[in-house]
């Protein structure tokens, strides 16, 4: 019963939606029936179109994430470990962070056109800051008494980083990772919807031109699914790396 309970309302909504559409209460122009969305999914999978679009979107997301996340993580490490670096860099990074990266879209299109670079650049910019801030603060908030202990116990700088500072910062880094994944999909959706010639966003916008509401809804659902998938992976990673953390012990969340 406990496992069924959370699913009752979503299933009911889906059922009413299907009935409403098939009885003609909801016009297909407003919202297609769930079954039609499913049919569109099957059709596009068969033609191979869907896989192509998904692959393009996935590549953009992962390359952008790798670049932006990598830069953010490294900056966070350097600034967290060396006060001189944080003095030099942190306020500049904070200033850039305050520019909403999506506001740069017109400029980015001027720089890169509608090619892949534009999308990757935007995604990288979007994921960089959450990773940076949480890595930086994660390192800064590592308990000083652990560091003192490590010095008494003869750990060298590398061991101190690897055994004490990085694991201590990891819970915070994961918070950044999950925020960044959210930003990654959001940025990608906006970028693909505005200017693209392939990808899930393009597929949905293209379908709009032909009034194919089923494909539009399918695109939205795919984004939701990919977002959820990324979050699940992050959560699993967290669970295996933060086994020691009270939140992940048996009986915890």
């Amino acid at each position: 019963m406990k496992r069924v309970l959370p699913w009752i309302i979503p299933v009911l909504i889906l059922l009413f939606w299907q009935w409403g559409a098939s009885w003609g209460w909801i016009s297909a122009r407003t919202l297609p029936a769930p079954l039609d969305v499913l049919k569109a999914f099957v059709r596009l999978v068969k033609s191979g179109e869907l896989m192509d679009h998904m692959q393009v979107s996935f590549e953009r997301a992962s390359i952008g994430f790798a670049i932006g996340g990598g830069i953010g993580f490294l900056l966070g490490l350097v600034n967290g470990m060396f006060p001189v670096a944080s003095r030099l860099l942190d306020s500049t990074v904070q200033m850039i962070r305050n520019i909403p990266h999506l506001a740069l879209i017109p400029l980015v299109i001027l720089w890169f056109g509608v090619g892949e670079e534009a999308k990757i650049f935007l995604v990288a910019l979007g994921v960089m800051f959450p990773i940076y801030i949480n890595t930086y603060h994660g390192i800064r908030q590592v308990d000083g008494s652990y560091i003192e202990m490590a010095k008494v116990y003869g750990l060298n700088t590398w061991e101190l980083f690897w055994h004490v500072i990085l694991p201590g910062a990891l819970p915070s880094i994961f918070v950044g990772l999950r925020f960044a994944l959210g930003f990654m999909w959001l940025t990608l959706i906006v970028a693909e919807t505005i200017a693209a010639n392939a990808g899930i966003g393009y597929m949905a916008m293209n379908a709009r031109e032909f009034m194919q509401t089923d494909v539009v809804v399918l695109g939205i659902l795919l984004y939701a699914l990919l977002g959820k998938g990324a979050d699940v992976i992050a959560h699993l990673l967290e669970k295996s790396l933060l086994k020691w953390h009270p939140n992940f012990q048996k009986g915890g969340a």
Partner: protein, 255 residues
């Protein structure tokens, strides 16, 4: 084994532009294999003294000389009041911290010694306070230190666990032969463990007494109680004349 010698040590801390003198001229010599306890009120500078020996604070004035004995057993390790176990390392991994080779087997051996073998694969967060301090003790012992500095290691434990831990520390000290410096606010603990008790007040040594009781020491014995009363009176600043046995009992019972 490691021994050390302090000559006219001074230490003060700067805080909001104010300089506060914590240690004002301490001379102390600790022999090889000796167990020395430092007692005093909170804020008397006893922990600072230990941190100076550990190298965690810099000496302002005076000299601190170490004499390292043989090749083996010449390290200095600290056991802190808060166990400072890394929560992301299992019990045995915490013990093996900083070991270059044979970490696991050495750690297991010491964990056996402190009676924690069944918990070696657990995370520190699931242990009780007493167990955590045992792990912290094992972590210090695994390096075979020549000098073990104990900074109120049992201060946060309940009375019963505390006595158990004192017995454990005494047993291990007798077996392993290292020099030990214990900082505590518990006079009974100091008498139970130490060869010599140093009382510090306002940054100076006020009393330096040898404890000539045979081990293991019985807390109920009259010699124990007498010494405890003497040190407590010194601590509380009571005059010799005002002392009487009727006064003493409740005061001694506080500790």
């Amino acid at each position: 084994m490691v021994t050390f010698q302090m000559e006219n040590i001074h230490k003060s801390f700067e805080n909001h532009g104010l300089s506060r003198k914590v240690i004002t001229g301490i001379d102390l010599e600790v022999q090889a294999g000796e167990f020395v306890a430092i007692v005093g009120r909170s804020g008397c500078g006893k922990s600072t003294l230990l941190r100076l020996v550990a190298g965690l604070e810099q000496i302002d004035e005076g000299q601190l000389k170490f004499h390292h004995g043989d090749e083996k057993n010449n390290g200095i390790r600290v056991m802190f009041q808060d166990s400072r176990l890394l929560p992301w390392r299992k019990v045995w991994q915490n013990v093996a911290l900083g070991l270059k080779k044979d970490g696991k087997s050495k750690a297991e051996q010491v964990l056996e010694e402190v009676g924690l073998t069944p918990w070696k694969e657990d995370w520190p967060l699931v242990l009780s306070g007493g167990q955590r301090q045992r792990v912290a003790l094992a972590r210090a012992l695994v390096h075979e230190p020549g000098l073990l500095l104990l900074d109120e290691p049992l201060g946060a434990l309940d009375a019963l666990t505390r006595i158990e831990m004192q017995q454990l520390i005494e047993r291990i000290w007798q077996q392993r032969h290292f020099t030990a410096l214990l900082v505590t606010h518990d006079v009974a603990e100091a008498i139970a463990l130490a060869d010599r008790i140093i009382l510090i007040d306002e940054g100076k040594i006020k009393l330096d007494v040898a404890v000539n009781l045979s081990r293991p020491r019985k807390r109920g014995s009259s010699a124990f109680a007498e010494l405890e009363a003497k040190i407590l009176n010194e601590l509380l600043g009571l005059e010799e004349e005002t002392r009487s046995p009727q006064h003493l009992q409740p005061v001694a019972g506080i500790s």
